[in-house]
């Protein structure tokens, strides 16, 4: 299925933890401007694969290619430098800090020279507000503390932050798992807008309806391998379930 639009290719990734083989030669591809879903039962290796792509784990073997060039994703920072941002399931937000502070932790804008560098608070507030309002419908004020935000707002903040750094790939792990219907719809809207802006989104989800709604392409994982791929336009929830359980061969 490799086309010129392919932005990321993972080829034959393996990863073991002690005697547990979490990945046994998993291969997937992702396309630019599409939402690619990754589904599979618990323990199928989805999280490990995603962690390899976001630089948290280093695969024991296998290659990751970005735009045709092999890359070494040695750390989350390295992955980030290659334009891969991850929205972690725990969102990695500091609740005691404000929205704009969370946007810029680790990448603060400063002004001044040498040791006399101070935070450029206004610039950060404005940029965070722009980034957030570009994606989220009901964007919370950037000066509010994350602790006061709803689950959906937090998710939107985390996604907007990941998207806001010129990233070409955004990985999301169960972005709506803990959300109600309305909030889920809002977060899905954020994901759509992100896709429309040309970003490739890798979506891990247990919700088949959501996968069929949001994604264009699905990879099914079982026992440490990506066993099947489908265009969402050519598949159904029943088929996906069958592929996950192994009731139906790829």
């Amino acid at each position: 299925m490799t086309t010129t639009d392919t932005i990321l290719t993972a080829q034959g990734l393996t990863k073991s933890f002690g005697g547990v083989h979490a990945l046994r030669g998993a291969s997937i591809t992702m396309r630019r401007g599409e939402v690619t879903a990754l589904i599979g039962d618990n323990g199928a290796g989805k999280s490990t694969l995603v962690r390899c792509l976001s630089g948290i784990h280093r695969p024991d073997s296998g290659t990751i290619t970005l735009d045709g060039a092999p890359v070494e994703l040695a750390s989350p920072l390295a992955a980030r430098a290659h334009g891969i941002e991850t929205v972690q399931q725990n969102l990695a937000l500091v609740e005691d800090l404000t929205v704009w502070q969370n946007f810029f932790i680790g990448r603060e804008l400063t002004r001044g020279v040498g040791p006399l560098r101070f935070l450029d608070r206004q610039a950060m507030r404005e940029k965070a507000a722009t980034m957030l309002s570009g994606l989220a419908v009901n964007a919370p004020p950037v000066t509010s503390r994350v602790r006061r935000l709803s689950g959906g707002q937090r998710q939107a903040v985390a996604i907007a932050r990941a998207a806001g750094w010129g990233s070409s790939i955004v990985i999301m792990d169960e972005p709506t798992a803990a959300l109600g219907v309305q909030e889920t719809a809002r977060v899905e809207e954020v994901v759509r807008r992100l896709r429309d802006s040309g970003v490739a989104v890798l979506l891990i989800s247990h919700n088949f309806d959501q996968v069929l709604r949001l994604a264009q392409h699905v990879w099914v994982m079982r026992a440490g391998q990506a066993v099947a791929e489908r265009r969402t336009s050519d598949t159904s929830g029943d088929e996906l379930v069958a592929l996950i359980t192994g009731a139906r061969a790829a």
């Binding site: 980030r80 972690q88 500091v94 005691d96 800090l97 932790i105 680790g106 603060e108």
Partner: protein
């Protein structure tokens, strides 16, 4: 404070009959409690000043205020230092022992013929070295902050006793004399130093990248690290800065006493933590405050000063400090999060 506890039941009685009234009163009560909790240090300070100035005519005289500010300087600096550590969710139990080591270092160098400035430099460096050990133990050795700094507290106290043979080293230096007696306007130099430290600490905490990282690590280390903050480095730095500030405070201490004493100074340790708690900083970290701990330090100093003026036995002072701190800690439960 006495007035506050007397008012509360009275207010509850007046609205007791009507149920909607009781509900709205309860809402007002929580609002009032959170207001108290947020501003425990300034409110407490004002209350103490009012009470003591009524009970003692000397309390609000210029001379006494000057004396109080000078007496508060060391505690203000230690409280600011402790506030940085506590914001990361840690605690520095060795802070006063570190100050003692600084003082002893100052005394030894001075006795050996070193100038004031050399002695002062050695004081800060000796103290900073302990901070480096604390930082490495906590951040790299993954030793619980409580235990690590308890250990360095013992080591530092012992070292100070060994180095001085347990005897104070008297220090007579014109610079130290100027430091204790000199004034900028009506404010003594020690308090000027403390205010400068307080302002710098505020700027660092709220206006620099480092300060934001301190708050982020304290709020959620996991999230901070995921966003590229080097948490171990941030943690080491807070202990190093806290110790360096303790070293600076040790110079004020030597100036105040006129000698370098290998004393344990437990009071300073407990009061530095107490001031931070009074200042509304949560011991779990994440919410930074600088003005609060400074006011907390002033409050504790005013409390001791006022009790002394009222000729209350010294034995009652730790009791009073303890009660105030426990009350403040209870109040912080009602802070808005």
């Amino acid at each position: 404070m006495r007035a506050g506890t007397a008012n509360a039941p009275a207010a509850a009685e007046t609205v007791a009959p009507a149920l909607p009234g009781r509900v709205s009163a309860a809402v007002a009560e929580t609002r009032r409690l959170s207001f108290w909790a947020e501003n425990a240090a300034p409110i407490g300070l004002v209350a103490l000043v009012v009470v003591f100035s009524i009970l003692s005519p000397t309390f609000l005289t210029l001379g006494n205020i000057q004396a109080m500010l000078i007496a508060a300087a060391i505690l203000v600096i230690l409280a600011v230092a402790q506030s940085f550590v506590i914001t990361t969710g840690g605690i520095d139990l060795s802070i006063s022992a570190t100050m003692t080591v600084g003082a002893v270092g100052f005394g030894l160098v001075f006795r050996a013929g070193g100038s004031f400035w050399v002695a002062a430099l050695v004081a800060v460096l000796a103290a900073t070295a302990i901070g480096v050990v604390n930082g490495l133990l906590v951040a790299k050795g993954k030793v619980t902050d409580f235990i690590a700094t308890l250990g360095t507290l013992g080591v530092a106290t012992g070292a100070a006793l060994i180095l001085t043979d347990g005897k104070p080293i008297s220090v007579l230096s014109p610079e130290l004399l100027r430091l204790t007696t000199g004034r900028l306007g009506v404010v003594g130099y020690p308090f000027v130093v403390a205010v400068v430290i307080g302002v710098l600490a505020w700027v660092v905490m709220f206006r620099t990248r480092y300060g934001l990282h301190v708050q982020a690590v304290g709020g959620s280390e996991e999230a901070a690290v995921a966003n590229g903050v080097k948490a171990p480095r941030v943690r080491i730095a807070v202990y190093v800065w806290a110790a360096a500030l303790a070293g600076l405070a040790s110079i004020l201490l030597v100036a105040r006493i006129g000698a370098a004493e290998p004393a344990i100074n437990t009071n300073y340790l407990l009061n530095s933590i107490a001031a931070v708690v009074l200042g509304g900083v949560s011991l779990t970290g994440g919410r930074a405050k600088i003005v609060g701990p400074v006011l907390g330090a002033l409050l504790l100093t005013a409390l001791t000063n006022g009790l002394t003026l009222l000729a209350v036995s010294q034995f009652y002072q730790p009791l009073a400090v303890g009660l105030v701190v426990v009350l403040a800690a209870l109040l912080t439960r009602f802070q808005k999060r």
